[in-house]
C-alpha cells in the first residue's frame, strides 16, 4: 500500500461533542489531499491529529505503514504544518522562517541559505528583518508558509493557508506549492473553503461533515459527481431538483421531476433521485424554432425572473413552469440576448451536466452530538434552495 499516513477509527471528542470521527483515511505518498467542509466540520482537528499535534481519543495512526506511538517525536520531524491561525514566534521574519531548520540542527550556512531561498520564493525577502509580530495579515500568513515549506517536509499540512492572501499572491502560491511539492515529492494536506483552490491544488478532495468524511475522491470527480445532497450543495451546485428515474438504460436515464418536466441524463441510477445541475452548465438561448437541430437533449422553456450581476458572472433566475432554475452566464450572453425579467427563452444543458444523487431529503441521518451544528448551519443556507422549489 502506498499510503504515507493512515488513520483508522480515529475519534476526538471535546466536552462530550464529537469533533472528529473518521473511519478510515489513507493519504497517498506525494498527493495533495484537499479537505473541505463547513465550519466546525473537524477539518482542523483532523489536520492536527495527522500532524501528531493532537492525540485522538481513540484510533490508530500509522506513518509509512507502522503505527505512530512513542515514535511520534521522530515522525514529526518529517512533517511541518501551517495552522489556520498561525503563531509566529517572537523575533524577526527570518528567525521564524529559519525556526524549523534550526530545530533540525542543520548547519548555520544551510539554515541561512534555505531560509533565504524560501523567503525569496514567497516574496518575503524585503521583510526579513521585520518583527514577525508586526506584519499585515497576508504577510504573516506568508511567513508561516515559508516556515513550513523551508524544512522540506515529507508531509506538509496547510490549514486554510491562502485565506488572507491577496488574489495574486494566492495564485502564485498555488503555482509555487505545486512546483515545490512535485520537486520534493511532498505529500500535502490542504484545508480550504474554496473549490477553485481545491481544484487548482488538489489531486483528491475529501468533504467532511460533523467530524466524518462524507466523500473522498479525485478532485474533478468529486466536483462533478458529489456523493449526496449535502456534498452537492456544499460544492455549490445550485440546482437540486427532486424526481424519479423513469426509463433507465446503460449510462443514460430519464428523470421525471416532481414539479413537472423531464430531464435526460447520462448518469445511471434508480428510484427517487435529486438531479444536480450546476448553474454554469445551463446555457441560455432564444426560444428554439421548432425542429431546430441541437445536440442538447435538455431544453426547457423558461421565463427570466431576475438577473443579478455578481462579478465576472451574472446570476439569472429562471422560471421553468413548476420549478426554478439558476443559470450563471457571462456578460456577453446577457448582452447578446438582451436579457431582462419577463423575457421568454430556452435553457439548455447537456445530458452529462445532470448528476443524480439519492434523494436523502426525508431520511437524512441526524449527525450525532456536535455535528448537529453542521446540520443547523447547512439548513441556515437552505433558504436559497427552498426558494428554487416554491
Amino acid at each position: 500500500m502506498n499510503a504515507i499516513l493512515e488513520v483508522q477509527r480515529v475519534k476526538r471528542r471535546y466536552n462530550g461533542g464529537m469533533a472528529l470521527a473518521v473511519e478510515h483515511l489513507a493519504v497517498r505518498r506525494g498527493e495533495t489531499l484537499c479537505l473541505m467542509g463547513p465550519n466546525g466540520a473537524g477539518k482542523s482537528t483532523l489536520v492536527r491529529v495527522l500532524n501528531l499535534v493532537e492525540e485522538p481519543d481513540e484510533g490508530r495512526i500509522s506513518f509509512k505503514g507502522s503505527a505512530v506511538g512513542a515514535r511520534a517525536g521522530n515522525v514529526r520531524r518529517s512533517m511541518a504544518g501551517v495552522f489556520q491561525r498561525p503563531y509566529l514566534f517572537r523575533g524577526s521574519v527570518a528567525d521564524n522562517v529559519a525556526y524549523g531548520l534550526r530545530l533540525r540542527r542543520l548547519d548555520r550556512r544551510e539554515v541561512e541559505r534555505r531560509a533565504a531561498g524560501t523567503m525569496e520564493l514567497l516574496g518575503l525577502t524585503a521583510l526579513a528583518d521585520h518583527d514577525a509580530r508586526r506584519l499585515s495579515g497576508g504577510e504573516a500568513q506568508r511567513v508561516a508558509l515559508a516556515r513550513a515549506i523551508a524544512v522540506r517536509p515529507e508531509v506538509l499540512f496547510l490549514d486554510e493557508p491562502a485565506a488572507n492572501l491577496d488574489p495574486h499572491a494566492r495564485v502564485s502560491f498555488h503555482a509555487d506549492l505545486r512546483r515545490v511539492a512535485s520537486r520534493d515529492d511532498t505529500t500535502v494536506i490542504y484545508v480550504t473553503h474554496s473549490i477553485e483552490e481545491a481544484l487548482a491544488t488538489g489531486d483528491r478532495i475529501a468533504i467532511m461533515r460533523g467530524g466524518a468524511i462524507r466523500q473522498l475522491g479525485d478532485a474533478a470527480d468529486v466536483f462533478h459527481h458529489p456523493a449526496d445532497r449535502f456534498c452537492a450543495r456544499f460544492l455549490g451546485c445550485e440546482n437540486l431538483l427532486p424526481g424519479r428515474v423513469r426509463e433507465s438504460a446503460a449510462g443514460a436515464a430519464m428523470v421525471e421531476l416532481d414539479r413537472g418536466g423531464r430531464l435526460y441524463t447520462t448518469a445511471g441510477r434508480q428510484g427517487r433521485v435529486l438531479a444536480c445541475i450546476r448553474s454554469e452548465e445551463v446555457t441560455l438561448h432564444h426560444p428554439s424554432l421548432p425542429g431546430e437541430l441541437s445536440r442538447t437533449a435538455n431544453r426547457l422553456a423558461a421565463v427570466v425572473r431576475q438577473v443579478v450581476a455578481t462579478g465576472p458572472l451574472h446570476e439569472v433566475l429562471l422560471d421553468c413552469a413548476g420549478f426554478e432554475l439558476k443559470a450563471r452566464v457571462a456578460r456577453p450572453v446577457i448582452l447578446d440576448l438582451g436579457l431582462e425579467p419577463g423575457q421568454a427563452l430556452e435553457a439548455r444543458f447537456d445530458e452529462s451536466a445532470v448528476h443524480l444523487v439519492a434523494d436523502d431529503e426525508w431520511q437524512e441521518p441526524e449527525a450525532p452530538g456536535r455535528c448537529s451544528r453542521g446540520v443547523l448551519l447547512g439548513e441556515a443556507f437552505a433558504g436559497g434552495e427552498v426558494r428554487s422549489r416554491d
Binding site: 495552522f83 530545530l103 524544512v151
Partner: protein, 229 residues
Amino acid sequence: MIGESIRQAVELLLTDGEVWSIILRSLQVSGLAVLFGCLLGIPLGVLVGIHRFRARGAVVAVINTGMALPPVVVGLFIFMLLSRSGPFGSLHLLYTKQAMVAAQLVLALPLILGITVSGIGAIPREVLDQARSLGASRWQTAMAALGEARPMLIVAVIAGFGRIIAEVGAVMIVGGNFHGDTQVMTTAIMEEVRKGNFSLALALGVILLTIAFSANGVMARLEQRAMAS
C-alpha cells in the same frame, strides 16, 4: 533622613574597604543562589507550566505556599540539617557561604518556579502546538515556550533575586554573620540596627538597593541583547 543616609552611603563606599567585600559577598551568595534557582526552577517551571497532569493543582499549590516560607524557618531547617548533631554535620558546612547559598536557593526557588509556571501557562497553547507541528522535540517545544514567556521569566529571576538579596533571617542563622567571612549586606544591616546605629543601617540599605538596581539593570540589558539577537 534619606539624604543623610545617601551621604553616609557614599562615604562608606569611598572610605570603608570592608563594605566592598561585604557587597561582593552578598552578590556572590545571592547570585549563586539565584543562578542555581534558575537552573532548577526554570526547567521545572516550564515542565509544570506546559503539562496538564493530574496532580498539577497540588504541585502549584505547594509551589505557591513555598513563596510564604519564612526565611528564619528555612534557616533553622538548614541549620538543623547541617548542625554538628544533624544528619549532615560531618560535612562541616554550617557557617559557610555554601550553606548560605543553599538556604537562599530554597527561598528563591518557589518564587522563580511559581512565576515561571504561570508565565508559561499564560502563553497561548498554540505556541506548543506550533513548535511541535514544525517538528520540535519535547525539549525544543519547551524551549519555544520559554522563548515566548521570556518577559515573565525575567520577572521570575528578578523577584527571586530580590527576595534573597534582601533576606536576613536565613543567612543569619546558617551563615552566622562572621565578620570578614560570612557577613553579607543584610546581616550587617541587622547588626547595625541591633547596635542602634540606625542611620548607618539605612546607609547600608541604600547601598544594597543600589546594588539591586544595578543588578536588575544588567539583567534587563542582557535580556534586551538576547531579544535582539
